[in-house]
Amino acid sequence: MKEYKTINEISGPLIFVEKTEPVGYNELVYIKLGDGTTKRGQVLDTSKDIVVVQVFEGTGGLDLQCGVRFTGETIKLPVSIDLLGRILSGSGDPLDGGPRIVPEDRLDINGAAMNPYAREPPAEFIQTGISTIDGMNTLVRGQKLPIFSGSGLPHNEIALQIARQAKVLGSEEAFAVVFAGMGITNEEAQSFMRDFERTGALERAVIFLNLADDPAVERLITPRLALTAAEYLAYEHDMHVLVVLTDMTNYAEALRQMGAAREEVPGRRGYPGYMYTDLSMIYERAGVIKGRKGSVTQFPILSMPGDDITHPIPDLSGYITEGQIVVSRELHRKGIYPPINVLPSLSRLMNSGIGEGRTREDHKAVSDQMYAGYAEGNDLRGLVAIVGKDALSERDRKLLEFADMFEDQFVRQGKDEDRSIETTLEIGWSLLAELPEAQLTRIDNEMINKYHPAHRAK
C-alpha cells in the first residue's frame, strides 16, 4: 500500500490529499501521525486532483507531514459469535481489556438495502411488560420503534426495562441485545453497564460506546457497526436481536457538524439535506427476512431538542420509523413512571401483531376504546380549568375520571414490574367498566359480553 505525504489542507475533521493514484469513493484510509499513532478515515469525495477524507478519531495532532494510506476497501467490521459479551469503542476496538475479535468474516458496515420482496412483514408480538407499549402501541419483531424523549426524562430506564423484559410468548429462541451509545456521558454509560451486569444481560449483549468526549465524527460509524453486528447475529446465527441506539440526536448533530465542515448547502435548521436518506440507511436495517430465522428489532432513543416533536431530528425519524413512543414531561412531573404519553405515540405495525392467536381477540377494540376515552377525558381537563367540575355533564365527568384512572393504574407501573398482556388487558377492562356501557362504541357487543367485568361477574 502506497503512503502519501501530500496532505494539502486540514479543516475541522477533514483532510485534503493531493496527487494520488485513483482512490475509490468511501474507501477506508489510515493516517499515520508523527508520534507513531494511527487514525482512521473515509473518502468523502475523490477526483483526479484531490481526495477529501473525513478522519474518525478527529484531526487533533495532524500536520501536513502525516502519511496517508488508502486501503482500497470500504470500512469493515470483523465479526464472530465471540462479539457477544464484549464492550467495544465507537469505532469497534475492545474497551474491556479483552483480546481483539478473531473474525469469522469481515462485513461492510454500510450494509446493503434489503430487497423489499425478500422481507417478511413483521407480525410476531413482543411482550415488553409495559402496559402502554404492549396494550396501546404494540411492538413486533422486526419493527423499528423509537423512543422520543427529552433531556431529564427517564428514557434510559425505559429502554433498559424493555431490554430486560422483552420476550416473544411461548418461544425459547436465542436472543441478543446490541447496544450502541453515541455521545452519551460516562455516567450514563456506567449506569447502562451496571444494569447489564446486574441482570446478567451482558453475556447476551454486544456494546459499542462512543462517549460524549470521543470525536463527534466517530458517531457516524458507531450505529453502523452496531447494526452490522446485529445483522450478523440475526442472519448468520439465527438470533432475535434487539438494537438499542442512544442517543440519535447526538448522531444527527455529528452529521450536521460534518456537513458544515464540508461547506454543504444546509437544509432545515442547518441539518444536511440528505439527513432523511442518511437516517433511513440506519433505521431501515431492521426487519425479518423470508426463510431466515433471526430478526433485527430497533429501539432508537432520541431526545427532542426543546421537547419539540417537529424538530428535524424527531420529524425525519418519525417519517422513517414504524411509529414512536413519546415520553412526556408532564406525566413525569406527576411522578408517573413510565411517563409514556399514549396520545402522540403510535405503533404502525400493531395491527398485524395483535388479535386472536397473537395476543387476544379483544385487544384492538380495548385499545381503540381507551384511546378514544383518554383523548376525550384529557381534552376536558382544559375545560374544567375554566368552568369547574360542576358545569360538566355526567358523561364528561366520567370521562375525566377515566383519564385520571388511566394514568394512575394503566400507565403507572414499577420499574421491575413485568406485566403480561392478559394483565394489561384486564387493567384496561377494569377501567373501561367505569364508563357507561353504551359509550363503548368501539367494542363489539360480543366482546363486551365476553370480557366486560359486569358481564363476567354474572
Binding site: 485513483p22 482512490v23 469513493y25 468511501n26 474507501e27 468523502l44 469525495d45 475523490t46 477526483s47 483526479k48 476497501e73 461492510d108 450494509g111 446493503a112 438495502a113 434489503m114 430487497n115 423489499p116 420482496y117 425478500a118 422481507r119 412483514p121 413483521p122 422486526g142 448547502v265 444546509p266 437544509g267 439535506g273 440528505y274 432523511y276 436518506t277 433511513s280 431501515e284 431492521a286 426487519g287 417537529t310 420529524d315 418519525g318 417519517y319 414512536q324 396520545l343 402522540p344 403510535l346 404502525r348 405495525l349 395491527n351 398485524s352 381503540d368 378514544a372 383523548a375 382544559g382 375545560l383 375554566i386 368552568v387 358545569a391 360538566l392 355533564s393 353504551a438 362504541t441 368501539r442
Partner: protein, 576 residues
C-alpha cells in the same frame, strides 16, 4: 462512446471525455453502474448514479448508451414489482439474494415468457401511432398492443400466435418491425389527441372521500399529513378499492416493512368489482428510503409512464405516489450535491416546475387511437413537522384540485381515516354533480351540503363549549352537536381493517347519510314539539345505527333500525 470517471461524490459522478446529451443513460465504472446525465460543462458531464458508488475510483471507464432513461412497456407489466428504474425485485432477489447489491441489470419485462397474440387488424390496414393492432390476455385485463406513438405506416404482415415480447409480430410495408413491447423515455409524457374535462368520480369506497370530497377520474389529489396521521393507510385503501381498471402504486422512499406488507397483502385481496386478485390489475414500484436516492427520483416518472401506457389502451388508471415529499427530497439531495443555488428550504428552484409537470401528466384524455382513457394521480405529501406552509405542500396545492388534509389530532383519538372535514376540499363537486344525480340520487347534493353545514356549525359551537361547557347551550344546539357527532362517528369514521367496513359502496353511503339525516329531522321536529332532549338522544335505534355499517346484511339491518326509529319517535310524540 467511452470516457473515464473524473470525480465521485456520493451519487453524483463527474465523467470526462465522453460526448453526452442531457438525460442520456451512461454506464459508470468497471461494474457498469447505471446513471443519467444531469449536467454538461465543457468536456465534463455530471451523472446521477442509480446505485451505490462506494469503491468507484477516478479513471474507471464510462460508456454512453446514448439512450434516455426508458421503461419497457408491454405484456408482463401487471402483477410486477419493480424498483425505481424498472428492475423487477423478484428477479433481483433471485440474482443477488436478500440484499440489493449493485451492478445487476434485469430487463423490466420477462424475455422468455410467451404471450398469446390476437391481431385485430389485417394486412393493408393503415395504422398510425397509438392505434391498436391486437390484444394479449394478460391477466383478466386485456392488454392492447399499440403502434408506438412515433410510428405509422401500412401493415404488410401480421401474425397471431405465441410470442415473446421481443419477437416481431407485425411488419409494416416500409420494413418497420413491431413487437409486443415498446420503449418510452420516462421524462417525456406520452402524446394524446386531446385532453377532456373529467366528469366521472373515482369511487374509492371510502365514505369521506366519495361522499364529501370526491376526486374525478383523470383528476389530481394530494394527501398531506404529518407522520402517523394515516397517509399510507389511506393510499393503500385507495390502491385496493379504487374502481379503475389498472392501479400503479409507487412506494417512493418509504418504509421497507410497509412495502413488504403491500407485497404480502395485495395478492390475497380480491377486487370487489371483478372478484379477481387485486394484484392482477396492479403494478407496484418499490424504492424504499434506503435504496439509492437517484432511483427514487426516477421512480415517480417510471410509474407515471406505465400509467400513461395503460391509459393509451383506453383504460382508467389510478396512480398513488407515496410520498411525493421523498421525491422532492431526492431532487434536493441531488441538487445540493451539484452545488446548485438553492430555493426555499434548500429545495431546488425548479421544484414547482417539476411538481406541476408531473401532475399535469394526469388527465382524462382522448387517446391517439380515439378512445377515452384517464390517469388519476393521488400524491401523498409528508410535510416536515406537519406544517402545510412548507414548499412541497404549497406547490402541490397550487396544482391539485382535491385536498385531503390529514390531521394528527384526529388520528390521536383514533378517528380514521383522519381526514379533516373542515380543511379538506374538492373542486370537482360541481363537475361531478350530474353523475351523482344520475347514479346515486338527486337529493345527494342536498344531503352532502346539509352534513357539511352541521359539521361547520359544530366547530363553531365547540368554541363556545370550550368556554362554558355543553350544558349551557340551548337544546337545539345541543342536538346539532349530537347529530354532528353521529356524522363523524357513524359516517366519517371507517375502519380499514374491518372486513365489511373497509369498502363502502356509494349506495350504502347514501343510505347511511340519509338515515342520519332522518334522525336529525325526526329529532328536531320532536324537540320543537316539546319533547325532552334527554328522550330524543337516548333512543336505542340511534345507538344501533352506529353498528349498521359493520353488517354484511346492510339493507336489512338498516331497515330494521329505521322502522324502530319511527316507532320510538312515535312514542316520544305520544308522551308529549
Amino acid at each position: 462512446m467511452k470516457g473515464t470517471v473524473y470525480r465521485i461524490a456520493g451519487p453524483v459522478v463527474t465523467v470526462i471525455d465522453v460526448p453526452t446529451k442531457m438525460y442520456d443513460v451512461v454506464k459508470v465504472g468497471k461494474e457498469g453502474l447505471m446513471g443519467e446525465v444531469i449536467g454538461i460543462e465543457g468536456a465534463k458531464s455530471t451523472v446521477q448514479v442509480y446505485e451505490d458508488t462506494s469503491g468507484i475510483a477516478p479513471g474507471e471507464p464510462v460508456e454512453n448508451t446514448s439512450m434516455s432513461l426508458s421503461v419497457e412497456l408491454g405484456p408482463g407489466l401487471l402483477t410486477s414489482v419493480y424498483d425505481g428504474i424498472q428492475r423487477p425485485l423478484p428477479v433481483l432477489l433471485e440474482k443477488m439474494g436478500d440484499f440489493i447489491e449493485r451492478g445487476v441489470t434485469a430487463p423490466g419485462l420477462n424475455r422468455e415468457k410467451k404471450w398469446e397474440f390476437k391481431p385485430t387488424v389485417t394486412k393493408g390496414t393503415k395504422v398510425a401511432g397509438g392505434d391498436i393492432i391486437g390484444t394479449v390476455q394478460e391477466t383478466h385485463i386485456e392488454h392492447k398492443i399499440m403502434v408506438p406513438p412515433t410510428v405509422s405506416g401500412v401493415i404488410d404482415e401480421i401474425e397471431s400466435g405465441s410470442f415473446t415480447v421481443t419477437a416481431c409480430v407485425c411488419k409494416l410495408t416500409d420494413g418497420t418491425e413491431l413487437t409486443l413491447m415498446q420503449k418510452w423515455p420516462v421524462r417525456k409524457p406520452r402524446p394524446v389527441r386531446k385532453k377532456l374535462m373529467p366528469d366521472t368520480p373515482l369511487i374509492t369506497g371510502q365514505r369521506i372521500l366519495d361522499g364529501l370530497f370526491p376526486v374525478a377520474k383523470g383528476g389530481t389529489a394530494a394527501i398531506p399529513g404529518p407522520f402517523g396521521s394515516g397517509k399510507t393507510v389511506t393510499q393503500q385503501q385507495l390502491a385496493k378499492w379504487s374502481d379503475t381498471e389498472v392501479v400503479i402504486y409507487i412506494g417512493c422512499g418509504e418504509r421497507g416493512n410497509e412495502m413488504a406488507d403491500v407485497l404480502n397483502e395485495f395478492p390475497e385481496l380480491d377486487d370487489p368489482k371483478t372478484g379477481k386478485p387485486l394484484m392482477e390489475r396492479t403494478v407496484l414500484i418499490a424504492n424504499t428510503s434506503n435504496m439509492p436516492v437517484a432511483a427514487r427520483e426516477a421512480s415517480v416518472y417510471t410509474g407515471i409512464t406505465i400509467a400513461e401506457y395503460f391509459r393509451d389502451m383506453g383504460y382508467d388508471v389510478s396512480l398513488m405516489a407515496d410520498s411525493t415529499s421523498r421525491w422532492a427530497e431526492a431532487m434536493r439531495e441531488i441538487s445540493s450535491r451539484l452545488e446548485e443555488m438553492p430555493g426555499e428550504e434548500g429545495y431546488p428552484a425548479y421544484l414547482a416546475a417539476r411538481l406541476s409537470e408531473f401532475y399535469e401528466r394526469a388527465g382524462s384524455v382522448e387517446t391517439l387511437s380515439g378512445v377515452n382513457g384517464s390517469v388519476t394521480v393521488i400524491g401523498a405529501v409528508s410535510p416536515p413537522g406537519g406544517d402545510f406552509s412548507e414548499p412541497v405542500t404549497q406547490n402541490t396545492l397550487r396544482i391539485v384540485k382535491v385536498f385531503w388534509a390529514l390531521d394528527s389530532k384526529l388520528s390521536q383519538r383514533r378517528h380514521f381515516p383522519s381526514i379533516n372535514w373542515l380543511e379538506s376540499y374538492s373542486l370537482y363537486t360541481d363537475a361531478l354533480a350530474d353523475w351523482y344525480n344520475e347514479h346515486v340520487s338527486p337529493d345527494w347534493p342536498i344531503l352532502r351540503s346539509d352534513a357539511m353545514e352541521i359539521l361547520q356549525k359544530e366547530s363553531e359551537l365547540q368554541e363556545i363549549v370550550q368556554l362554558v361547557g355543553s350544558d349551557a347551550l340551548p337544546e337545539d344546539q345541543q342536538l346539532t352537536l349530537e347529530v354532528a357527532r353521529m356524522i363523524r362517528e357513524y359516517f366519517l369514521q371507517q375502519n380499514a381493517y374491518h372486513d365489511v367496513d373497509t369498502f363502502c359502496e356509494m349506495d350504502k353511503q347514501y343510505k347511511l347519510m340519509k338515515a342520519i339525516m332522518k334522525y336529525s329531522d325526526l329529532a328536531n321536529t320532536a324537540l320543537e314539539g316539546g319533547a325532552e332532549l334527554e328522550d330524543i338522544t337516548s333512543v336505542k335505534s340511534k345507538d344501533d345505527l352506529s353498528k349498521v355499517k359493520f353488517e354484511k346484511e346492510f339493507d336489512e339491518k338498516l331497515n330494521t333500525v329505521l322502522s324502530a326509529m319511527d316507532k320510538e319517535f312515535d312514542a316520544i310524540r305520544g308522551a308529549v
